[in-house]
């Protein structure tokens, strides 16, 4: 049953890729001078999971957009904008939950703006969000007066530390990713909203013909994804313990790459949250392993780039299988 085999290979592909990357680094990374492994250890994976959080949360939002047939290039800027908003509020005495809500809200507003422009101006999402990439980055810099926004201290700073002050085994950010991934998976698979997203990305004409409110849905999905980018901004803030308007430049590309490695199609209609999470983890492991191998930054870039191309090629190959 070569057909059946191909189908399984296509489904399990991202996971097999992840295992392959882990296996390769396990063999390649040399133990330390005491003969202790340094890659395949609890502590290192705790670090990797923590380093995955920001891209993973962004990837959840991006998966929704990519399934609907769109793209959002302003994600990195939104994350930076969110972190600046949060830092300013905390600096002015706001509590962590207020700051969190504001960061999610700020991301949501940017997404709403993206969605409304895409639906109303009927321009391709690539162009609109490319423009917003610049606009939002500029807005973040203005808001932060062209410098990092520092504050004394905040409980937010604990959300991403591997020191694990509250004994949760993993930092709070990792648990948030796991919870959101499960909820979003259920929403995608079990709700009318999720079903409509797949329909929109799969064939917009069919969706319209069947009475799916396509334009409203576009606005909604960008706004919702924006909330995820805002939340990712909160974890960015927690990680740096300061608001930085120049952070996360180009992060949207890591996020998109994670979604694509996870098996989503840039043509829309295909994608899973689990796949995107595996994609995000694969990216983080690549970066982590590369550091442990003491590869130069340039080599890291080249390798990550090659992995993205291979993943997209696999996507293309799967599309052909369908046609």
């Amino acid at each position: 049953m070569p057909d059946r085999f191909k189908a399984i290979a296509a489904k399990a592909g991202p996971f097999l890729g992840l295992l392959l990357v882990i296996a390769l680094f396990s063999l390649a990374v040399k133990p330390d001078s005491d003969g202790q492994a340094i890659f395949l250890t609890y502590h290192n994976f705790k670090t990797i999971f923590t380093q995955t959080v920001i891209v993973a949360i962004g990837a959840i939002g991006m998966t929704l957009i990519i399934i609907s047939g769109g793209i959002d290039l302003s994600a990195g800027s939104s994350i930076a904008f969110g972190s600046v908003v949060g830092a300013l509020l905390i600096k002015n005495g706001a509590g962590p939950w207020t700051a969190l809500a504001a960061m999610i809200g700020a991301g949501g507003l940017i997404g709403l703006l993206n969605g409304v422009m895409i639906a109303k101006l009927r321009l391709v999402p690539f162009i609109i969000t490319l423009g917003m990439l610049c606009v939002v980055r500029g807005a973040a810099q203005k808001l932060g007066n062209n410098q990092t926004v520092n504050y004394d201290s905040s409980p937010i700073n604990d959300w991403m530390t591997t020191a694990d002050p509250r004994g949760y085994a993993l930092p709070a950010g990792v648990w948030v990713v796991i919870a959101l991934a499960i909820v979003t998976t259920l929403v995608l698979r079990r709700t009318v909203f999720g079903r409509h997203l797949f329909a929109l990305g799969s064939n917009e004409a069919t969706a319209r013909l069947c009475g799916v409110p396509t334009q409203r849905l576009k606005v909604l999905v960008y706004a919702l994804a924006g909330c995820f980018f805002g939340l990712a901004g909160a974890f960015q803030l927690s990680r740096l313990t300061q608001g930085d308007p120049t952070v996360a430049v180009g992060l949207e590309l890591d996020i998109i790459a994670a979604v694509i490695i996870g098996g989503a199609s840039l043509n829309g209609g295909v994608g899973t949250i689990l796949g995107s999470m595996i994609g995000a983890l694969t990216m983080a492991i690549l970066r982590n392993g590369a550091v442990l191998m003491e590869w130069s930054n340039a080599d890291q870039l080249i390798i990550v780039g090659i992995v993205i191309i291979i993943a997209v090629y696999v996507d293309h190959w799967r599309q052909e299988r369908r046609a």
Binding site: R190, V192, A199, A205, T206, G211, G269, R322
Partner: protein, 505 residues
């Protein structure tokens, strides 16, 4: 020979086909086509939709290879490997849809793919000369060569396309429905251009649904029907009736079981409905339990009428009423809520989500009905899909299989099942049996009959006349954007429908 047209420049044969056969899977699209075209002859190729003209043209232009038969070009065996090869050998094609790079200049378009160049650098003077020469041959020497192709009128764009075809000095030029998007005045100019080409000895295959047009421009004709050559002769001495009989005269098999149904109250009405770009005027009334057929040529506005009724296109004028009440602004969502269902003629591009499962395609109009508060109960959804899979005998592995994996007939059944599951009371079916096997066709006819018997109103658009005559209670014929004649089926024949469709009434 009619005095108005010049005699052919030469009587030597340009193109000869004998016994050309072509299969697509198990379907025989062509079953022994013969055709002979002399140099300097305009030859009309006539046939109903689906008679095999497109397939034949694709073979001539090198897009498909025939399975059997002989092709000769200028006395030599002709076996083009690709459209490019066909062009080099001397057979050029002008498609109904123009193929121009609208941002490039007229000159660049004419020379596209044949740019005179040295070491990759385009020889600008030579290209200008060649483009100019080609246009002069067509009597359009004054066309500005530097303007982008998109800035010209459709008729001028067509001239640019013909000029491109002339660059390779073709022996045979194939024109597919060249007047379908032209105004009357532009049509006259095109005929003048064709006259010039004929005088230069080019053999021209002219495909058109408009028989009057063929009679004016063509020297000879060949009629195709069901993939066969059923007649040919001198165009001017042939009567239109004779040609229409050749086109349509076939035995009608008993595919159309008639369940007893009695039309009731009017449930769907359009009053002078019009929409951009094609639908000019349509007034119809469809009753519950009535099967209403819409006949007409491709591009006559039949699909446009259904789309306007369903709210996919905006009404430019007129009114659509469902069960007596005018419907609001365009929105398919509202129509589904009113119990109107639409089956698209284009399964792949519009009708179905090919990569998604059967179950999702089938329940897309209201997935929320399979659960509560926006959550979907997957088991209920799958069991609903399974019910239709059994009922319509859809061949598949199960409700989770992607629709794109199914055969055309089974895909169409999924698309129809969506309307049945909804459930709709008014069915707008655009070419419900296009491209599907006979078994599925018979099943769909039976289903339509049952719907009418249950009191549903059904509007069927079809290009296949026996189907309309076998199935419908009432048939309306559209011609050039207008719903011209609506009569009970008993008052129509294939010939009279064809006459009305080509504007001969």
């Amino acid at each position: 020979m009619n005095g108005a047209s010049p005699a052919p420049a030469s009587t030597a044969t340009a193109l000869r086909l004998a016994g050309v056969t072509k299969f697509f899977g198990a379907t025989r699209a062509l079953r022994g086509v013969s055709l002979e075209i002399a140099r300097g002859e305009v030859h009309a190729l006539i046939g109903e939709n689906g008679a095999g003209k497109s397939t034949l043209m694709k073979i001539l232009s090198g897009a498909h290879a025939p399975d059997a038969g002989t092709l000769e070009l200028g006395g030599q065996p002709y076996a083009p490997e690709s459209p490019h090869d066909a062009r080099l050998q001397g057979v050029a094609m002008i498609y109904q849809e123009l193929n121009l790079a609208l941002h490039l200049s007229a000159e660049a378009n004419i020379l596209l793919g044949a740019e005179p160049a040295r070491a990759g650098v385009i020889d600008r003077r030579a290209s200008r000369d060649r483009a100019r020469t080609a246009l002069e041959l067509l009597g359009h020497g004054s066309l500005p060569l530097d303007r982008p192709a998109g800035s010209f009128s459709i008729a001028e764009q067509q001239v640019i396309e013909i000029a491109r075809a002339l660059l390779t000095q073709p022996q045979v030029l194939i024109m597919d429905e060249p007047t379908s998007s032209l105004t009357q005045a532009d049509t006259e100019k095109l005929f003048a251009t064709i006259g010039r080409l004929r005088a230069q000895g080019v053999g021209i295959i002219y495909i058109s649904h408009f028989l009057e047009e063929c009679r004016r421009i063509a020297d000879r004709y060949t009629v195709l029907k069901d993939g066969e050559t059923v007649g040919s002769g001198d165009m001017r001495s042939a009567s239109l009736d004779h040609i229409v009989t050749l086109m349509t005269g076939r035995e009608v098999k008993d595919l159309y079981p008639r369940a007893a149904h009695a039309p009731g109250a009017v449930v769907l009405e359009t009053k002078s409905a019009a929409s951009e770009p094609r639908l000019r005027q349509a007034t119809l009334r469809v009753r519950a339990g009535e099967i209403f057929g819409l006949a007409g040529l491709i591009g006559a506005g039949r699909t446009d009428l259904l789309r306007a009724i369903f709210g996919l296109d905006e009404l430019a004028a007129g009114e659509v009423c469902v069960v007596g009440a005018p419907v609001g602004k365009h929105a398919p969502r509202d129509r589904w809520a009113q119990g109107v269902g639409f089956l698209s003629e284009d399964r792949k591009e519009e009708g179905l989500m090919l990569v998604q499962p059967i179950a999702d395609n089938l329940t897309l109009t209201k997935p929320g009905a399979f659960g509560r508060f926006g959550w979907i109960d997957g088991r209920r959804q799958r069991s609903a899909a399974q019910r239709w899979i059994d009922e319509l005998r859809i061949k598949c592995r199960g409700p989770e299989q992607a629709v794109g994996d199914l055969s055309g007939g089974n895909q169409q059944k999924v698309a129809l099942a969506r309307l049945l599951e909804h459930p709709a009371r008014i069915f707008l079916l655009d070419e419900p049996t296009r491209g599907i096997d006979v078994g599925s066709k018979a099943q769909i006819y039976e289903l339509i009959g049952q719907l009418a018997a249950r009191g549903c109103a059904v509007v069927v658009v079809s290009s296949y006349l026996p189907e309309l005559l076998g199935l419908c209670d009432t048939i309306g014929v559209m011609c050039r954007g207008e719903l011209a004649a609506v009569r009970p089926r008993s008052e129509w024949t294939e010939a009279s429908i064809m006459h009305a469709a080509i504007g001969g009434a």
